[in-house]
Subunit: 404 residues, 2 copies
Amino acid sequence: MARIVQKYGGTSVGDVDRIKNVANRIKAFRDAGNELVVVVSARAGVTNELIARAKAVNPNPSEREMDQLLSIGEQETIALTAMALHGVGVPAVSYTGAQAGIFTDKVHTKAKIKTINAKPLEKDLKAGNVIIVAGFQGIDEAGQITTLGRGGSDLTAIALAAAIKADKCEIYTDVDGVYTADPRVVKDAKKLQEISYDEMLELASLGSKVMQTRSVEFAAKYGVVFEVRSSFNNNPGTIVKSEVAYMEKVVVRGVAVDKDQAKVVVSSIADKPGTAAKVFRALADANINVDMIVQNVGRGGVANLTFTVPQTETSKAQKALAAVLKEVGGEVTVDEKIAKLSVVGVGMRTHSGVAATLFDALAKASVNLELISTSEIKISVVIAKDKADEAARVAHAAFGLENL
Amino acid sequence: MARIVQKYGGTSVGDVDRIKNVANRIKAFRDAGNELVVVVSARAGVTNELIARAKAVNPNPSEREMDQLLSIGEQETIALTAMALHGVGVPAVSYTGAQAGIFTDKVHTKAKIKTINAKPLEKDLKAGNVIIVAGFQGIDEAGQITTLGRGGSDLTAIALAAAIKADKCEIYTDVDGVYTADPRVVKDAKKLQEISYDEMLELASLGSKVMQTRSVEFAAKYGVVFEVRSSFNNNPGTIVKSEVAYMEKVVVRGVAVDKDQAKVVVSSIADKPGTAAKVFRALADANINVDMIVQNVGRGGVANLTFTVPQTETSKAQKALAAVLKEVGGEVTVDEKIAKLSVVGVGMRTHSGVAATLFDALAKASVNLELISTSEIKISVVIAKDKADEAARVAHAAFGLENL
């Protein structure tokens, strides 16, 4: 008998029939003698419908009222899932975030979990019930409903798993694990049996859209081992856990491509102390996520700053830069026809030559490198967007990932 | 400046545009210097959609889970209404039933309000906010979400008006007041300016579908004066209040027709003590609402029992009676082609001749009386259903209600 936390995403509970399917899956786990706490998201599409209705009454709805509104999406799913379980003879009780004792700070629409009071839930669990918890939501100390922002339901599951000391945490989604590359691009991409938190974090932040980084960070902090798997089949998924020794034998574990970035070049700015700081302070004040910063100094005491930003933020970035460039001089050019390719693996820490292998493979495929950035377990390069898929295949083959 | 509780029903907040209309109405009241607490229902149709989805996952959904589910309908409306108010520059805060401190017993789907802790609401009200409260819902002492059953939003408004000592309570609905008869049937029916709780109760329970009796009873118990009016125009409605002296000058204030009743005759049962008790105990045990009971004793020591039940409960009544008739003998006949016509007025208490006037008028119109039942402020008769509309017009004219 194990104590298991499961999380089913919006497509897994997208309609009445899928909710019944999920109920049958849960029943099978319970019939096998397990204790179950199940976190569910809103039905796919519901959150967007609610946002559209909110925008129709007010283009700039208050964040507090958005939380009051959006939390009903998950509240619908918990009740329907509990009813479906009753229908197949499984005792079940639904819990809103507030009822589950998920206390957060008071930052509406992107609250952070502070503590979980799992006592009522533990009591219902010991009484033999399956507990269905609304993901994505909590309550602050003043009794206000809060939501956790993107990827919030994963976070609910992982935080609950930590709070009730679950033996397993299973994140059911519409992909059946973490792959060495996007299988739609690299035909012989392999599903990874295991991956470390650090590798998952690099992959999550690099366009492998399985999970948001914050949930992985939370799991790493509290040592919650979790498995990413599909609710539409019974295949084993990918287990995400602390790094273990044998992982290091494998140098590279995945190739990720992010086509949603843009390259920004700020050229001909004065090369003196504080200039770069002013540029990035302006971007930070505008809440723009900057990555892959490179500076090089040209002739005549002028410098170029190059970095990437999400494509959705390029116009905001240009606006923020316009003000500061009046002061420090220079000009801005933006290139959206780029992609960021990264290879990730904890084994890089102890193996040299990874960069050389990657650059060599890309050169042979005539892929030009516009920017390079490295970390302990990752090498990223910016390349032309129309070369990205080919580059992913070449890199995947260069590290022998098809044999992983 | 007055402190006003308003309640808007499901059709008044049926879509985004109507919610904006309601926001503008509220703004006008607030701009006039009033303090406002506004109770809203779920958008028309939403509750039925949720029930359909529940039945699709489980034909017999648990009542606790139904409450978790149905409460989201109002929670959507409060958030959207608050957002719409922000959009027209009015500070507003939405409250779920739990946040509004509406504590109920633990009887899911038909909970009774026990207490209201209005302190948080009072604080927000004093800070200048319009308070938007979800109707129909509350919370029990264990933190479980409850709903109040049919007419629950009216009850929320009236209970809040009592709790915060409101100066006025306005129930906005899709009719613009209480009429002396159904205007679709009796063309010269008049809207009543005022009506007593007792009269409203008799009319509410007699097919004048403006409000459920429990809300009127609650208002009478706590002396909450309320007005029933339309949210689609600015006409004054009908004020419901304690009986005042001048009301008694008017003998009859309304004619109500209920076509949803059936007449049940239990004939040829033994005329001995305890027989009738057994019959009505069986009906009570089956939760059947019985009205207008008449017993007459025929020849040979056998008796007939006649009464009315809601048409929706005739088959349940027949089932309940079958068991008891095995014991006491007799047989059951059901007639659904009947209607109940009632004239109501507190003035009857001190005026004689009302029955004579009614019976005389109906006789002249060749309407046969199948059953008669009277209370202090009401006379009801059972007549053929196809004569009901004509009878309503005749009775309305006999008491001069067109001149009220």
